[in-house]
Point group: C2
Chain length 430, copies 2
């Protein structure tokens, strides 16, 4: 029996929307949004798309009209009743009412603010300006739309069986990774792959594969919509945008030096347990830890998101030792450019010395490398970052100078203020 009603319904879509929900975003975005909504609601911020992979000429691959349609569709979204119920009623990290009634009321009324789109030199200039808690929610859907539209441009030219075989190969590749991971004792791994995923459906499939293949070694997903749909844990804490904007708002070098700790202080007040995770690399991990107040050493763990991950973890372990904490009680979350071999290596190196966890991103949800001619579906390095706050440029130094951003004079100033010396350059794949 052909289901005519479904067919008619499906054909009524004018476009095939890439992002269909405001909670199809990373959980930490909502946590940070609530924090910003409470602490810095009126800060004017600009987010901007940054394609680090210059050889991928997005404006030549993606039709501007289609991109606008997708972005316009996102602006038409608002929180559904079911999504609101899930956010209000769910237990996150063992805590109920993670989101306050004030925040939820604001979120329920929210529509995303306008975007600004231009083509330049084969790339899209895509920016979002407005109040921080509003524009910050553009980051994840904007990235997901661009990555998926670029994928669709390639898929459009493939035959029906070619498509089946493409996904068959991608699924096999994914499963072989999972078969490797399941052999790792004590593994704890979460999906962090929303922003640069191949597509929503593919991320959802990857999560289902992790559920079946890893059992309780899989601890959850950063994607709220998929966490809701698959009834699993939503995972995440905080990101670089907090210290970057706090730092940009500083009126003096002294305030600047304190800004990253002010972020942590605000967060400390709002959250405990697994949400107290330090992200130390925004202006260099060694200096950040060295100058950190003692109460920060009491936090649950640290997220290693740039530089050599083993070096980052060893730095953290030494720091906890120095501050009289037992590293074996501490959590280290690796989340930078991971794939199975690196995960196995880090687990072997650190299991037993600290509690280890992995946030597996793009190479979980978008490892289409080697599956098409000219590798046209390989993921690439694209971010969407806060580039200014109240008219001042933001700066990120990172533990890998390839990931640094900001005007040169400001980078120099930040390096001086945070005492950052030579850093090791590492290629950024995704």
């Amino acid at each position: 029996m052909v289901d005519i009603a479904t067919r008619v319904w499906n054909h009524r879509w004018k476009i095939d929307p890439i992002v269909r929900s405001l909670v199809d975003t990373d959980f930490y975005k909502l946590l940070m949004c609530q924090s910003v909504f409470r602490n810095k609601p009126d800060t004017q911020v600009t987010f901007s798309l940054i394609n680090r992979s210059k050889s991928i000429r997005l404006a030549e691959l993606i039709d501007e009209g289609e991109l606008r349609e997708q972005l316009d569709h996102i602006r038409s979204l608002s929180l559904t009743r079911g999504e609101s119920t899930w956010l209000r009623g769910n237990m996150f990290y063992g805590k109920r009412q993670m989101f306050t009634p004030e925040f939820m009321e604001w979120f329920e009324a929210l529509r995303l603010p306008p975007y600004h789109l231009e083509k330049r030199d084969g790339q899209y200039e895509l920016t979002f300006e407005g109040k921080w808690p509003e524009v910050m929610l553009w980051e994840i859907p904007a990235l997901a739309v661009l990555m998926e539209l670029r994928g669709r441009a390639v898929l459009d030219h493939m035959g029906r069986f070619e498509l089946q075989v493409l996904y068959a190969r991608a699924l096999t590749k994914l499963w072989e990774k999972i078969e490797h991971l399941r052999t790792i004792d004590g593994l704890r791994l979460a999906d962090f792959g929303t922003r640069r995923r191949h597509s929503y459906l593919w991320q959802d499939k990857a999560v289902q594969a992790l559920i079946e293949g890893l059992g309780n070694k899989f601890v959850g997903t950063s994607n709220c919509h998929i966490a809701m749909k698959r009834d699993i844990e939503a995972i995440g804490t905080n990101a670089h945008e907090l210290p970057m904007v706090y730092a940009a708002l500083a009126d003096s070098d002294a305030e600047l030096a304190q800004a990253p700790y002010q972020v942590m202080a605000d967060w400390h007040e709002e959250h405990d347990g697994n949400l107290r995770i330090i992200l130390p690399d925004t202006y260099g991990t060694p200096g950040f830890l060295e100058r950190a107040p003692d109460w920060l050493a009491g936090w649950t763990g640290i997220r290693v998101d740039s530089g050599d991950p083993a070096t980052g973890a060893e730095t953290a372990i030494r720091w906890w030792h120095d501050r009289g904490e037992d590293p074996r009680d501490k959590l280290v979350i690796f989340s930078d450019g991971l794939d199975v071999d690196k995960i196995a290596e880090l687990q072997a190196q650190f299991a037993g010395r600290v509690r280890v966890s992995f946030g597996w991103g793009t190479l979980l949800t978008n490892d289409f490398r080697g599956l098409t001619d000219g590798d046209a579906l390989a993921p690439f390095s694209m971010v969407c970052k806060a580039v200014s706050a109240n008219g001042r440029p933001t700066v990120k130094l990172s533990d890998n100078p390839e990931k640094a951003m900001g005007p040169e004079d400001q980078i120099a100033r930040y390096k001086r203020v945070f005492g950052v010396g030579d850093q090791k350059r590492m290629e950024v794949v995704v």
Copy 2:
């Protein structure tokens, strides 16, 4: 939207039938059936399942109740109006009304006769007795049911993603074969894989892959139901059961020696063009050709179905030369245990010297080798053959003694009558 009606409908099936149509069978079965219906309608024949792969203990793998359910379901089938219309109205090999009104009326009224099933030594003894035109139609569905039930017994223990990955791997494997085949100039290839297919759906998928991947290098399928569904050519001519039964009916050695040519004479009267394909190996190819009447050299081509295929083709080419025919006008159809490398090799060796065509069977529709633990889904060598006719045992010698069958004294007699000497043993994989 959930389609509740479809769901309810699907759940109403008491079993999941493996064979759902009387035309889910090989086209040559119907051609031969019409010939038998005309020439030997009352011959009493017994068909029997023969599992050449003794290590596969089918009676331990397949539940007897399930097997009976499937076979009983096949007995409930009759030709549908649409199937009858297709057989009556379609053009086969450029000819309309391939099937006579008398045959179609008989076929429309047909239900398959009873089966006899017993377990012995871990194997099933499955036999079909009755009038030749009726019991002969059991061969293909019986084999398909056994192969698919054995597969289901393995699949039942697999997780949802394991299943997805299994089919992803099988599809990738199939597509890589097709990508290899599409590079072969002048290739002409048909699907001959009904009897030992993984499943109906998988055979149908393989055919769709061939349509997309090979274009007009793919010339059709032996499966009538799939030919009808996909609107492509149904392919096939005749098989060993004709000479085997004709030979068993012979009342003297002299008649026996003539029996294979009598088959060809009856066929010659009924068919022309691409249907005049010699199958010479039943009692040894060299002797058959040597003693063949001259009119047989005028036939369109030859099918090489046992022994070393290159040797068989060279023998045929020499024979055509000797009989004053130009081999370049003749068709050689290779159909024994083919896979891509062998196809490429034979095409390279014979293209230009004869017209070459391939009937690709089990390693097209059931190459699940290497995809499961213990290779539990690998295809194996199982046939369903006429073992007696009017109370006399049948004999097959073949060009490969591994494929010979019949009582020993009769094999000796046939070897003497047909002048078959030493033969080369070749492993039978599928």
